[in-house]
Symmetry: D5
Subunit: 105 residues, 10 copies
């Protein structure tokens, strides 16, 4: 099942730069692992803002919540979730396995 | 370049059903042609609403505007456009040609 | 999977009362059939408004969209969907079959 | 009488993790006691957010306020309350006593 | 139980003046009957707008909904309901019977 | 003249509990004195929130501002004021003197 | 007493130009009479919009409502009223009689 | 040229009372000097809020910005500016020189 | 003086296509004449919407209002005006005469 | 490609004045370098606010994001980006090289 999540990050003013960099490094590792296993299908930056648009493919809203709430930056994010359904005019998309195989160098 | 467009359709009360169906049929044909040529990369229904989330890959905002404003349902839509940039944690995605080759039966 | 849908009805001014009553009658029949089969788990009126709060239990957002967009009043509704997940402090609820067996006279 | 309450938690940045965990533990115990006695009928997590949707069945708005304002996390919550009425298309629901009896292992 | 309802009237452009005056006359009669029986405790005009602030004292949200949705102008109103509770600093108020006895000429 | 004021309290995180309790005690004393002298006609809690709806009867907006801005909690409040006028369907209300005489034990 | 009213006009699409011009002519005559008698103290156009900012000096909110709701364009306006109080840093202003005497040619 | 500015003050929690009083004293002196020289034509308190509505008569938006941004409380204000134009139904107003001459004791 | 105006067009459903095209043709001619005389300095389409962002350089808000309200599409537009001032980090811009001389083929 | 960015600065309360001045000095130098190289085409102050309206001409949304997120004040800004397209009624504008040549003293 597909969900769109729009996440806006509000870095905590009181956290020192090193600690925040460490958080971001863990965030990136988790984001890439989730992209590789196909659950975080797309991840785009919103131009000009510390925010992203993400598309998740998960088994349930429980799994979505588990993923999003486990992100190291979750305590500093506003998140808006939109449930997506199949659009009757949409062409089929390649499945995830193929997508990443092809994208690999 | 990538843009997200969120489109909400407000069907005109005064249009008869046949005329509106004809509009929707032309909308679908154009949407599928644009998906095939790779410019309308993703098209999802927002669950529970007459609305969609779309990702366009175009050369410029001019091209995006030309596409969106040529849609048969454009006069009956509210559209919100968000410019997307590369996210530093995003893995590379397969290019369009491969995507549709793979998705084909 | 659980979804909350908040639906607000805007009756069309140009529709005559009999036609609208017929729509509402079909809406009610469908709503009750969906409650009986367990997919429309809860249905409450928002006090003072022509609006409801509903909880759906469906297999996917596709199924939710299919249900909501098939409602006879759908063309005259604003709908907001919220995906629900399990809350860690929630006690287990009886399953649907038992619920309606018990509620039956 | 039924009320929907949507609660969003904003954890205080200055509180240390142990103190906040203790608050959450007391919150959970109270939430479960109120579910068992039938006043907190439903409790769902809003997917992707530190927030919930709750349905309360209480004798009055005074009782609702007493419950909500006694929650250990109340000082860190935004709460929106919606009064619910019976919907003319709703089927009867099993009463609380039966619900939890059935849900018990 | 007390509820505040803020009602804004949007008179239908297509209704002729006589028909609308008849609606308003029936609205007024019902409003005054409900004030006399103590359920519509207060009724104030919002200065500069075709809108009111009302306080209802009813047994339940069901009764509130029954009253508000039976108003002749209900189809042309936006209504916002707020559930009110006792305020710990509030002094006791005289009951309704006494209020209207005193207000009578 | 009547004004509705909706006041939402945001207790300052940095103030210790005793100091805040002292503020609230002074707030309550002032609120009750103003209710007794008839200027703070009604005071209700908004269910589920640290907020109230109040009706003031004062000689002018200057007097209203003087009262509201002298409240001990004023620095920690959001206040929205609505000027109220006589509603043509409203029945006369008893005057203040009688109201409190009657409400007294 | 002073009130600010921000009025936005939405001319009715179905009214013919002559009828609307007649309404505007009556609106202007009333607006000027109210300015001359000192109750409509200031009247400014909001640049770029069919809207105005007005300052009224009236005895009460009842008088304000009577004036605003008697405007020929009132049925086609959105109006927002703000009650104004004396500002402690404001210098005294000349009274109305003198103002118009001075402004006269 | 006329501008309306609506200013809401958010006093900084961390500033001690004496320092803030000194700021307010300097604010008042500047506000009164600007009223005397005719550029700050009107200054009203919004009843019930730490906010004002002001009318400025200046040569340009540059001059307006210079004035507003030089206010001692500017760092603690939200400001909304509206450009005002002549309203075709407005009567002429006395010029500033006369206004203050007349208002002087 | 510079103003930004954001204009959104809502074409009237009841106007036939020829009449609306004629309006748009007159709108274009006026827009180009105002660009040539230097008062409508910039005109951009908002991508994906029937809306524009415009920068005007005019002597006053009165002149801005006169221009905007004389546009043939003005009755079908929502307009938001923002007064612009010189930014201390902005480099000087070429004046209008030179700009169009250079832009000419 | 053209983008409009509206940036509102919220200076951090905890930063001392010298540090913030240094940030602003670096911001100004970068803003002027970007104006000289033609990518930051226009920069205007929003009158009465610590905010600006900017027009960027860049190759892509990626370049826009790189620029905006590299601004020294970026962590203290709210930024709203709007993608701009060519307007069919717009006259051609001089290119950047000429603009600054002409503006140079």
């Amino acid at each position: 099942m597909l969900f769109m999540a729009e996440m806006t990050v509000h870095p905590p003013a009181w956290m020192d730069a090193d600690e925040f960099d460490a958080l971001k490094q863990r965030e990136r590792e988790l984001a890439q692992r989730l992209q590789r296993d196909g659950r975080w299908r797309h991840l785009w930056r919103i131009a000009g803002r510390y925010a992203n648009v993400s598309i998740f493919e998960v088994a349930s809203a429980d799994e979505l919540h588990e993923i999003v709430s486990s992100l190291p930056l979750f305590p500093y994010m506003d998140v808006q979730v939109t449930a997506l359904a199949h659009h009757p005019s949409a062409l089929p998309e390649p499945d995830n396995e193929l997508r990443h195989e092809l994208a690999a160098p």
